[in-house]
């Protein structure tokens, strides 16, 4: 039989560690290790729309998955939302800020004269969720002018862990991995759309290893890996 | 007929006209500063396009506006000693001298260097030459390119008297033995009278 080829997996950048761990585990089972390209979901979706020769796509949000599905680039019946994440409020590790997340919480007061680090609420998923949560909690109008939007969750996280911002909104997985921050509170799941990561095999995929890897991600063994990094699974 | 010239060209706001014929031998251009001597040499070398007219050198027509003839500078085979020298600053004296050299004919390399007194300068870069040394290298470069005719624009301006005499003898030899048409610009009456068969006032 001809040697099996590595599938190409396109994955949202925030999955860096967990997806690499999954790929390693998959390779240990005797499969060719997937070649994973990590970038912003938007960039990956555009590459797919341009005919990129890839097999599997894991997006950090649903709209970009919808976008390529509408373009007929998703293999029928393979799109599954399999990961969840929580949205949390973080502060620098040595900060003694206290705040209970809830309606009309005194977020502005807690910021003092600093700013709230967040992924760009105009487009980056984590920022969109953050804006939803702050809106539903009634604090968006007061805090809207006090944001420090970064290019990604990671950018927001760095601002907090460097002490440039006293508070920030990131995913639970990010907070957990960064020793420079501590979690102040978790946003109630009801305050924002579910943070979910859909996976799909692409319509143009010719490599059966791709679909096999997607199935592995959805297996209990696969999901366990992601749970280890703090994701919720469905 | 070595030079047969009739042309007009424009420099800034001034319009310059030239018309003369000169028989064999050396033709001296004589005229005050700013009269247009260098401009004429540039036109003959093909570096300046006349508005109209005709340029014939040694029987070959190089430019004729009526007949739409305009030989490219690199095909005119002139040995031009520029008033501003124009040595190539990025290569050694040796490579400057060899730049236009052809495999056949022409002057003997060693003998020419000897006469010009530049044999010791071959490995130097032009920027390190004294004024007179640079001028002699410029003369050498033109002579060694085996030209069909010579254009010399005050070639001896910075050359000392002793060397000047030797170079003049070399020019005379080229004029007489090789029978090259020479157009020679100088402000020195004595030099002109010694060399020139024809004197053209500009």
């Amino acid at each position: 039989a001809p040697a099996r080829q590595s599938p190409v997996v396109l994955a949202a950048a925030s999955l860096q560690e967990s997806m690499n761990a999954a790929a390693d585990a998959w390779a240990r089972k005797g499969h060719p290790r997937p070649r994973v390209s990590f970038a912003a979901s938007s960039a990956l979706a555009r590459q797919i729309a341009s005919g990129a020769p890839a097999d599997v796509f894991v997006s950090a949000d649903e709209p970009w998955m919808d976008d390529i599905q509408n373009k007929g680039l998703v293999r029928k019946g393979t799109r599954v939302s399999f990961l969840r994440n929580d949205l949390v409020l973080v502060a620098p590790r040595n900060s003694n800020v206290r705040l209970r997340i809830g309606r009309n919480m005194p977020l502005v007061q807690a910021l003092g004269n600093g700013r709230l680090a967040i992924a760009d609420p105009a487009g980056v998923p984590a920022g969109i969720y953050g804006k939803q949560a702050l809106t539903r909690l009634g604090v968006w109008p007061s805090v809207q002018g006090r944001l420090a939007p970064g290019d990604s969750v990671r950018g927001a996280l760095a601002l907090v862990s460097r002490g440039a911002a006293p508070l920030g909104i990131v995913y639970a997985t990010d907070a957990r991995a960064d020793p420079g921050v501590r979690v102040v509170g978790i946003f109630p799941a009801a305050s924002h759309d579910p943070v979910s990561y859909p996976v799909t095999t692409l319509a143009a995929s010719r490599n059966p290893e791709g679909e096999a890897f997607r199935r592995y991600l959805l297996s209990s063994e696969g999901k366990a890996i992601f749970r280890r990094f703090g994701f919720g699974t469905k | 007929m070595s030079f047969d010239i009739a042309l007009s060209l424009r420099r800034g706001e001034r319009s310059l006209e030239y018309a003369f014929t000169a028989g064999s031998g050396l033709t001296a251009l004589f005229g005050p500063s700013g009269a247009g001597k260098t401009s004429l040499l540039d036109a003959i070398a093909g570096l300046l396009r006349p508005d109209k007219g005709r340029i014939t050198v040694g029987g070959t027509t190089l430019f004729d506006s009526a007949a739409h003839i305009d030989v490219k500078p690199q095909k005119r085979h002139c040995g031009y000693v520029f008033q501003d020298l124009r040595l190539f600053p990025h290569i050694s004296v040796r490579r400057n001298l060899a730049f236009g050299r052809k495999a056949y004919g022409g002057l003997d390399w060693d003998h020419t260097l000897d006469l010009l007194g530049i044999g010791g300068l071959l490995e130097r870069m032009p920027a390190t030459l004294s004024g007179g040394e640079a001028q002699r290298v410029a003369i050498g470069r033109a002579l060694l390119s085996t030209p069909d005719f010579l254009l010399m624009d005050e070639p001896l301006a910075s050359v000392d008297a002793a060397r000047r005499d030797e170079i003049l003898r070399l020019v005379e030899r080229i004029r007489d033995e090789m029978r090259l048409p020479i157009l020679y610009v100088s402000h020195d009456r004595a030099e002109v009278e010694r060399l020139a068969q024809t004197i053209v006032p500009v």
Partner: protein, 233 residues
């Protein structure tokens, strides 16, 4: 094309301000460095050259990150600047200008260095014999003779400033009206599916901005070129 919305105007004006301040503030620094690299010889020169090139070599996000380490109020240097000069950069348009300036620096230095290396030093010595000290010689001879390089530096620097994204968003954040320059607005738009037309519109604005700068510089180059005159062939 539709007229600009107020938000687009805001972005455009901010980009102009950031880009303009960035290159004007960077120009003297860049010229000084170009001078050093073109004229001086000293041990460790390559080191300075390397530092100048850093923002070109490193991914912009890393540069932004380094700026954060140096200029945030938590850092000793940033705290010092705030205390003594009242200068803060974080989350301010000044920070966007700083990031843009730093990113433009290597391009500006190189353009000016190239021109300085082409200046005929014999003309400087002529100025000295005519009674001009080093400073007057610089202003009246060296600087005008390297004007093309300064101009090129301004154009390159301005274009780079108008296009700078990664360092700015990392260091100064993407705050509408304060640090959201054109590239940051474009990036925001790029993240939203189906917003291509908005991206194209904003990109068009960037292009217009720098075409204007280019036309201006070409005109200046041509003017100075005509003055030097006398082309042969």
């Amino acid at each position: 094309m539709q007229p600009l919305s107020p938000a687009e105007w805001e972005v455009l004006v901010l980009s102009l301000k950031v880009g303009g301040v960035a290159i004007v503030a960077t120009l003297p620094v860049a010229f000084g460095l170009a001078w050093m690299l073109a004229r001086w010889r000293f041990p460790g020169k390559v080191l300075i050259d390397a530092v100048v090139h850093l923002p070109l070599v490193l991914p912009p996000v890393v540069t932004g990150w380094l700026l954060l380490l140096a200029f945030s109020p938590n850092a000793p240097f940033g705290a010092f600047l705030e205390r003594t000069l009242g200068l803060t950069f974080l989350f301010r348009w000044t920070g966007a200008a700083l990031a843009a300036g730093v990113m433009a620096l290597p391009l500006m230095v190189r353009a000016m260095r190239l021109s300085l290396e082409g200046v005929d030093r014999r003309l400087e010595s002529a100025a000295r014999t005519l009674g001009a000290g080093p400073w007057r010689t610089f202003i009246r001879v060296t600087l005008p003779l390297s004007a093309n390089g300064v101009l090129a530096a301004l154009v390159l620097g301005f274009a780079r400033s108008v296009g700078e994204f990664g360092a700015t968003i990392t260091f100064a954040s993407n705050i509408p009206g304060e640090t959201q320059t054109l590239p940051l607005a474009i990036y925001s738009a790029l993240q939203i599916p189906g917003s291509d037309s908005q991206v194209v519109r904003l990109a068009g604005l960037s292009v217009l901005l720098s075409v204007a700068a280019l036309v201006l510089s070409e005109w200046l180059i041509r003017r100075s070129g005509q003055q030097r005159g006398r082309h042969v062939i």
